[in-house]
Symmetry: C2
Subunit: 241 residues, 2 copies
DNA sequence: ACAATAGTGTCTTTTAGACAGTATTTG
DNA sequence: CAAATACTGTCTAAAAGACACTATTGT
């Protein structure tokens, strides 16, 4: 006979804020819940952590299930955001969620996962802005808070890391990269100053000999460089959102 | 009859990296474990999250239990660090820990807590450095990794926030504040440039009319200002560690 | 007087901000 | 040709880095 559990147990979940760029706007992957609670509501994709997994492994697995994104290095970035543990964040059971942020280059339209009735990309601003016009969903659980925190994390990290590279596919132009900053920060950095900073940061990008582009003068194509930090940082000053 | 639990449950804990400055060196609060596993080993203080608590509330409670630090605003800073969830991080049960960082001004020597046989402040460098001379303990669980991550978080945040204020008691001199940076970064920032930056950042500190100091010319005394961000940041360039 | 710390000033270099101008492509 | 984007250059302002120098206290 063992003592009553002094140590309450919780269900451990992961939630994913999967961000990508589509048509120069930041989008987040949402799934329509097929099971209670919040059945029928839109939510961030996620799932429970298996008995032999850590949170990050579970997050990669869920990501693969929802999007088909593999753990292929260089084809996406996943990092822990923070843990949400309010006792009543799930109205039925005690579920603690380790939220993660995923940055991905443009992905195909998702297919419904196992426990999701539907899945699609939504422009982030439509989800977070109080614009009453659009048919933007109200997210289940505390997922709006998670998305807000994820967005602020990404905005901040574009300042002092080369994380913007995770949003583009190789090869890319400096215009492509600049549009990443424009979409995340809400306003494009000055053209000349942006080029000076990117090209002046050793290892940010690696030039190729090729050129390409959709319209206008063909631009030089680049690949991702090995640098991970931008020092001193590229600060955002213009209209934040 | 309900289905077998597809959702494995875990025990949810918090661990605290409580950092303070003593004699111009950064110290961390360690407790000697009084119960298995790792009985007798040194570890970060922590405990389990109660059924009606979120992780941060539990962290504040554990902090009060271990140190007597209350939730008094302005007398300490607590923030979530990250969650450690490796399935085997506890050799006996599945325990997931939401680690937190606490910055505190110099506190009295701790008293043993409920499940801790002993508690004391240890210089951080002695714990993390591979100096074989000192009788520095090897931390239980993955607590050395947590401490490393906590230290890097604090080092980074001193660059772009006014968090150094959390290490000093009011009123304080600019020399006191500079010694915080020296201890955390491993080398003091240039005297003149540091003063220019702190005094030039509106709301970092608020001057009083009083003077004080232990030796040398008495210095003006300051109180904490309302500013939380330093922009542009004060970058650390000298010997990092 | 000397040690110790506080406080000020200044010169140089780096970097960012602002913006003008030229270049090369498509329609 | 105009539109669109790529690319380069330049002037200015802000900030940091590296110091030197003066000021005020205790011993």
């Amino acid at each position: 006979m063992s003592a009553a559990p002094l140590v309450p147990s919780v269900a451990l979940a992961v939630d994913l804020a999967v961000l990508t760029l589509r048509a120069d706007r930041l989008h987040v992957l949402l799934v329509r819940r097929g099971v209670p609670p919040f059945e029928g509501a839109w939510a961030l994709p996620g799932g429970f952590v298996g008995p032999t997994e850590d949170a990050e492994t579970a997050a990669w697995r869920e990501l693969a299930e929802e999007t088909g994104m593999g753990q292929v290095p260089g084809s996406g970035h996943l990092e822990q955001l923070r843990t949400y543990s309010a006792p009543d964040r799930d109205p039925r059971d005690r579920v603690v969620s380790v939220a993660h942020v995923v940055l991905a280059p443009d992905l195909p339209d998702p297919t419904a996962g196992s426990d999701a009735a539907e899945a699609r990309w939504w422009p982030v601003e439509e989800i977070l802005d109080p614009a009453p016009a659009a048919a933007a969903p109200v997210l289940a659980f505390d997922h709006a808070e998670i998305l807000t925190d994820a967005l602020e994390r990404v905005r901040a990290k574009l300042e002092y890391t080369t994380l913007a590279l995770e949003f583009v596919t190789e090869p890319f132009t400096l215009g492509d990269l600049r549009r990443v900053y424009a979409a995340v920060w809400g306003a494009p950095p000055d053209l000349g100053n942006f080029r000076r900073k990117v090209l002046g940061t050793e290892g940010f990008v690696v030039a190729t000999d090729d050129h390409g582009g959709d319209s206008g003068r063909p631009a030089r194509l680049y690949r991702r460089g090995p640098a991970r930090l931008i020092s001193p940082p590229m600060l955002r000053t213009p209209g934040e959102d």
